[in-house]
Symmetry: C2
Subunit: 339 residues, 2 copies
C-alpha cells in the first residue's frame, strides 16, 4: 500500500471503506435533529478520535464511551470537554488520571460497589445508570434515589440519570416502538425525579427521533449504518463497506471467493450482504459469494460487502479509508480499539 493511496486499487484488501457523501449525509441529518449537546455521540461505534473530532467541529462536544480506553484516548486527543463513560467499572484509576489532566469525566454507576470505585478512582461526577428494560446494567429504578444519596455522601456530584433502551432499537413497527420507548423512559424519568441533576441520557441510533424524553441521545452507529439497521427505515444511509478482491472463481460451482471473511466482518447479526449476488458463507479470511448470473466476476475484481453490524466490524480494523467512489480521499485511524 502506498503511503498515500489515491484509489481503492492502491489499497491492500480487505479494507474497510467509508463513502464520504453518505457519512456526511448521516452526520448532517443527526446534527439537524439533535444539535450540540442534544447528541452525546457514542464513540464505541467507531473508536476513532478522527471521527470524534469531526463531530466536535460540528458542535457536538459531549461524548460517551463504553471503555476506559476510549475515554483516555478522547482526552489525549484534546476532546475531553465532557466525557461520559456509559458503563460500570471496578477500577476507575485511569479515569481519575484523566480528570487530573484537566478533562471532565462522568462515570455511570449502578451499585454501591461501582459508586465506591468512582470515588476511590478519583472521578468526581457520576450518572445513576437505571435499568429501563434491557437485561443488562442499571439499577432498579426504585433504588436510584438511594444511590444518588450515597454518591453525595461520598462527595460525588450527581449529574443525573442514564438508561439504555437497547431492546427497543431495531423495531420496524415504529408506532409500537414509540409506545415502548415511552414506557421505558417513564421508568427513567421517575428515577430522575428521585435523583436530580440536569442530565437524562438515553437512546441510540434506533430511537434518536422518537425518544423525546431524554435530553441527550447516545448514538454513534448512525454515521455508518449497516444492513441490520437499514431494515428499520431510519433517514440514515449505509456508508460502510468492506473492499475485497476476488481471488478465485469456480465457474462450474457458480461461486467466487473474496479475500475478506469473518475476521474482517462482525458475524453476530449474520452474514454480510453482496449487492451483485448472494453471500454463500464466510470463513476466517474468505467469503464465498454466488454472483448473479448477469453480474459475473473475474479473479482480480474488487467487490464490496456490506457489513451486518457496524460497531464490531469497525473494531476489527486498524483504519477506515474514506472514499468518494473509487477515489481515496482520507483515512481515519481506529485508534481507540482494544482495552
Amino acid at each position: 500500500v502506498p503511503a498515500a493511496p489515491r484509489t481503492i486499487h492502491d489499497l491492500a484488501t480487505p479494507a474497510l471503506l467509508v463513502e464520504r457523501s453518505a457519512f456526511e449525509h448521516n452526520r448532517a441529518t443527526m446534527s439537524a435533529a439533535r444539535p450540540g449537546a442534544n447528541l452525546r455521540a457514542h464513540v464505541k461505534a467507531f473508536k476513532s478520535t478522527a471521527v470524534a473530532r469531526i463531530l466536535h467541529d460540528a458542535g457536538h462536544r459531549t461524548f460517551c464511551a463504553a471503555t476506559v480506553k476510549e475515554v483516555v484516548g478522547l482526552a489525549s486527543a484534546g476532546l475531553g470537554d465532557d466525557l461520559l463513560l456509559a458503563n460500570e467499572v471496578l477500577d476507575a484509576r485511569r479515569l481519575g488520571a484523566v480528570v487530573r489532566g484537566g478533562n471532565r469525566v462522568t462515570l455511570a454507576v449502578d451499585s454501591d460497589v461501582t459508586m465506591r470505585a468512582a470515588a476511590e478512582g478519583g472521578v468526581p461526577e457520576v450518572l445513576i445508570d437505571v435499568n429501563v428494560g434491557l437485561p443488562r446494567c442499571g439499577c432498579d429504578p426504585g433504588d436510584a434515589g438511594r444511590l444518588a444519596d450515597l454518591a453525595r455522601s461520598l462527595g460525588l456530584t450527581v449529574r443525573g440519570v442514564m438508561g439504555y433502551e437497547g431492546h427497543l432499537m431495531d423495531w420496524t413497527d415504529r408506532a409500537r416502538q414509540a409506545e415502548e420507548v415511552e414506557r421505558s423512559m417513564a421508568l427513567l424519568l421517575a428515577a430522575h425525579g428521585d435523583v436530580g441533576g440536569d442530565i437524562v441520557s438515553a437512546g441510540g441510533t434506533g430511537t434518536f427521533d422518537i425518544n423525546t424524553w431524554a435530553n441527550e441521545i447516545q448514538a454513534g452507529s448512525y454515521l455508518f449504518m449497516d444492513t441490520h439497521y437499514a431494515k428499520v427505515g431510519l433517514p440514515f444511509v449505509e456508508a460502510l463497506s468492506l473492499l475485497t478482491t476476488v481471488i478465485s472463481v469456480n465457474r462450474a460451482g457458480g461461486w467466487a471467493v473474496v479475500d475478506g471473511g469473518l475476521k474482517a466482518l462482525a458475524m453476530d447479526h449474520g452474514n454480510p450482504s453482496y449487492a451483485g449476488g448472494e453471500v454463500f458463507f464466510c470463513s476466517d479470511e474468505h467469503t464465498t459469494i454466488v454472483p448473479a448470473p448477469d453480474q459475473p466476476v473475474a479473479v482480480g475484481d474488487r467487490v464490496r460487502l456490506a457489513p451486518a453490524h457496524v460497531d464490531p466490524t469497525i473494531a476489527k480494523h486498524p483504519v477506515l479509508w474514506v472514499v468518494d467512489g473509487e477515489d481515496v480521499v482520507d483515512s481515519w485511524a481506529v485508534d481507540l480499539r482494544d482495552w
Copy 2:
C-alpha cells in the same frame, strides 16, 4: 495494568488468557503425532510470532499462513525457513520482498491469474491449490496438471499440491469422517500425480490424526481449542478463556453482567460458554450471564468465558496472557493481526 502483572487480578479486563499447562499438553500431543515438518503449523490460528517461535523451537520450522502480513511478520521474526501462504493473492510484491530478504516463500495458486501474480511478484515457488470439496478456493482437480505446466513455463518451481478439507473438520462421527477425508484426499492425490513435487499439504486440527494421505498437516487451532472443536472428541483440551469482571448484578432478574462482549469474542460459532451458569446474550462490550443458583457472583468478581471459535477470537486481541491458574507467567503479543 502494571508493566509486569503478577496475577490475573492485575489485568485490565477483558483479557484473553491461555492456560499454560493446557497449551503445553496440546503442543506436545501434536508434536508427538506430527513431528517436525509433518506439521505445517497454521499461524492464522494465533497470529503471534511468539507462539510460532515456541513451535519452531520444538522442531516445527515450516509454517503456513492465510495473509501476506502473517508471512511478512514471520520472516521479520527470523522464522522464514519455509513459509507457505496457503491462500491466493493478486499482488505478491510484498512476498517477493520477503524472498529477496533471504526467506523461503511458497504461494498457493489456483488459476492462471494468481499464477502470474506469483511470477510477477517475485515468488519463485508455488503449490497448486486443489479444490477437494469445500466451496472455496482451489482449482478443479482435473486442471491441476495444466496449471503446473503453466507454472514451469513461467519459470516457477512447483513444490506439489495443497487442498483443504475444511468441510470435514468438525464431524463427531469420526468413522464416517475418515471415509469422507479419504474420498477428499483421493482427489488431491490424483491431482498430485499430474502435478509432481514433494508436498501434499492438507488437513487441520479436526483431521490431524485421520488424514494419513497428506505428508504435512496444516493445523493451528489445536493449541488453544474452543467449545466448538471441543465437541469433536480430539485429544486436545481447551486452553483459551476470556477473563472478565462482573460489573453489575441484578438479583431480582437473576442475571449478572460482565465486561467482555462480542468485540472480544468471535460470534460466528455462537455464544461463548460460562462454566458457572448460562450465557444469556452478548452485547458489544458486555455479556449477560445467568449464574447457577449455587454459584452466585458479586460485583468485582472475575469470571472466565470459553470462546466458541478460537481463531477469530484471538484476532480481536492485542495480547495473549499466559497463566498458571491465577498467576500470569508470560504474555504473547498478537502481532500478526490485521492485513
